[in-house]
């Protein structure tokens, strides 16, 4: 076994230090070392997007990133999306549109949609669909998800 690495990072606005083996993916570190089990393991090869987190403002598949690479980064996970005041507009609209059934893909969809709205708060339906191409959902048929994201975008624009 390789020596464990000491990693200092920021997760959901808080400074976090952890020890991990270099072979542990960021997803494994979040779930197994830090008890942040919101990000899900789906395909473990970069196709399904269930493990999507935001690193330095960009959506990434945490299964395709090593935990040691989090050194000095700002990481956002689904656990940091809601505030004490309430749900994020994306979460609220996913509920209203019933944009989930089993829910396994939902944290990844919310995180990738959040990254989209932070870059473009007025996306077209086509832009939403292409942006979310790296997230798979086998329950909803995507339509409800796309409507939820478009509705949440409207709230995001109204709030600014």
């Amino acid at each position: 076994m390789s020596r464990k690495a000491h990693v200092q990072t920021q997760i959901n606005g808080e400074n976090v230090e952890f020890l991990c083996e270099p072979r542990q993916s960021m997803l494994e570190v979040l779930r197994d070392e830090l008890d942040l089990t919101g990000a899900k393991e789906g395909c473990n090869n970069g196709n399904c997007g269930a493990c999507t987190i935001i690193v330095d403002g960009r959506p990434v598949d945490s299964c395709c990133m090593l935990g040691v690479e989090a050194e000095g980064k700002e990481v956002q996970t689904i656990e940091g999306v809601a505030t004490p005041e309430g749900l994020h507009p994306l979460q609220q609209k996913f509920l209203e549109h019933a944009a989930l059934q089993c829910g396994i893909c939902t944290p990844g969809f919310i995180m990738n949609s959040k990254a989209l709205l932070e870059e473009n708060s007025n996306p077209t339906e086509k832009e939403v669909r292409f942006w979310l191409a790296g997230n798979l959902c086998r329950c909803t048929g995507y339509d409800k998800i796309v409507r939820a994201v478009l509705d949440a975008a409207e709230i995001t624009r109204a709030n600014h």
Binding site: P22, N44, E71, A133, G134
Partner: protein, 290 residues
């Protein structure tokens, strides 16, 4: 996943020293979107991962007479770059269809090249744009044309103590543009059944081909520069007949396999279709002024 050590190199010389020390046991980590999956699936042995994202030279995207793309610059930075959008549109075509946005946040064109997949989307584009690979090793830097970089599926000319530093792409002429497309059965997030790139320079009146470069993906063990199909267009009028001649020449060098994505016959047919569309795409961009 198999156990390995991890080192974040701070300089090119440190990275080369690590490669020299560990040779075949070392793997360069850029975006990791291919490497981490391959290591997890035991398709690539690794003793040490050498992360180069902290090395300035491999992380720089700059335009100063020529375009220089550091080997670990992620796709999203490339397709968001103003100079790339205006002068190298085929690079936008390719980098915006490699995986989904999560992959594009980390995956690099340098990594796409070093992974040496026959179906890599960015390699035909680098070939038609005349990119040169800047390679660093213990005895210094050397340079090689992209079309000579890949030697077999997953294999490149890199020695085990060398790494790709950057890609250097010359500025296209005034009446020139480029285009890349692929055939996939889905709308996105898939591997090319066939890919085709074209870079075209026209006369000022847009009536004659001054020069053209065509490259193909997924129809041979490595991405191919279609030399004969390219040179046949020089001096020819911009017409369906000229383009058809180039398409036939391109089909002549395709040696595809049949697999789950398509048959050899379908792939050969697609070479003709996609070469025509790539050439017309580049021509239209020239006529539209981009």
């Amino acid at each position: 996943m198999q156990a390995f050590d991890y080192v974040a190199a701070k300089s090119l010389s440190e990275a080369v020293d690590l490669l020299t020390k560990y040779r075949d046991q070392a793997r360069i980590l850029g975006g990791g979107t291919d490497l981490i999956v391959q290591v997890r699936e035991n398709r690539r042995p690794v003793g040490v991962m050498v992360d180069i994202k902290g090395v300035p030279e491999v992380n720089t995207l700059s335009y100063n007479g020529s375009l220089e793309i550091g080997a670990s610059v992620p796709c999203y930075k490339i397709y968001s770059n103003r100079e790339v959008k205006s002068k190298f549109p085929a690079l936008v075509d390719a980098t915006s269809i490699i995986g989904g946005v999560q992959i594009q946040s980390r995956a690099s064109v340098g990594g796409n090249l070093c992974n040496a997949s026959p179906a890599a989307d960015s390699i035909p584009v680098l070939i038609v744009l005349g990119a040169q690979c800047a390679i660093e090793g213990p005895s210094g830097e050397r340079s090689i044309a992209v079309e000579d970089f890949c030697t077999a599926p997953g294999q490149t000319v890199l020695e085990s103590n060398e790494l790709l530093v950057k890609l250097v792409i010359p500025t296209p002429a005034p009446n020139a543009s480029s285009f890349y497309l692929r055939f996939i059965p889905r709308n996105e997030m898939d591997i090319a059944v066939v890919g085709a790139g074209a870079a075209v320079e026209l006369s000022a009146d847009h009536q004659t081909f001054v020069s053209a470069r065509i490259a193909l993906g997924a129809v041979a063990p490595t991405p191919l520069f279609a030399a004969a199909a390219s040179s046949v267009l020089a001096g020819k009028p911009v017409s369906d007949e000229s383009i058809e001649e180039a398409c036939e020449a391109a089909k002549g060098i395709a040696t595809p396999i049949s697999d789950m994505r398509g048959t050899a016959a379908q792939r050969t047919h697609l070479v003709g279709v996609l070469t025509r569309r790539a050439l017309n795409g580049a021509i239209n961009r020239i006529k539209e002024g981009n």
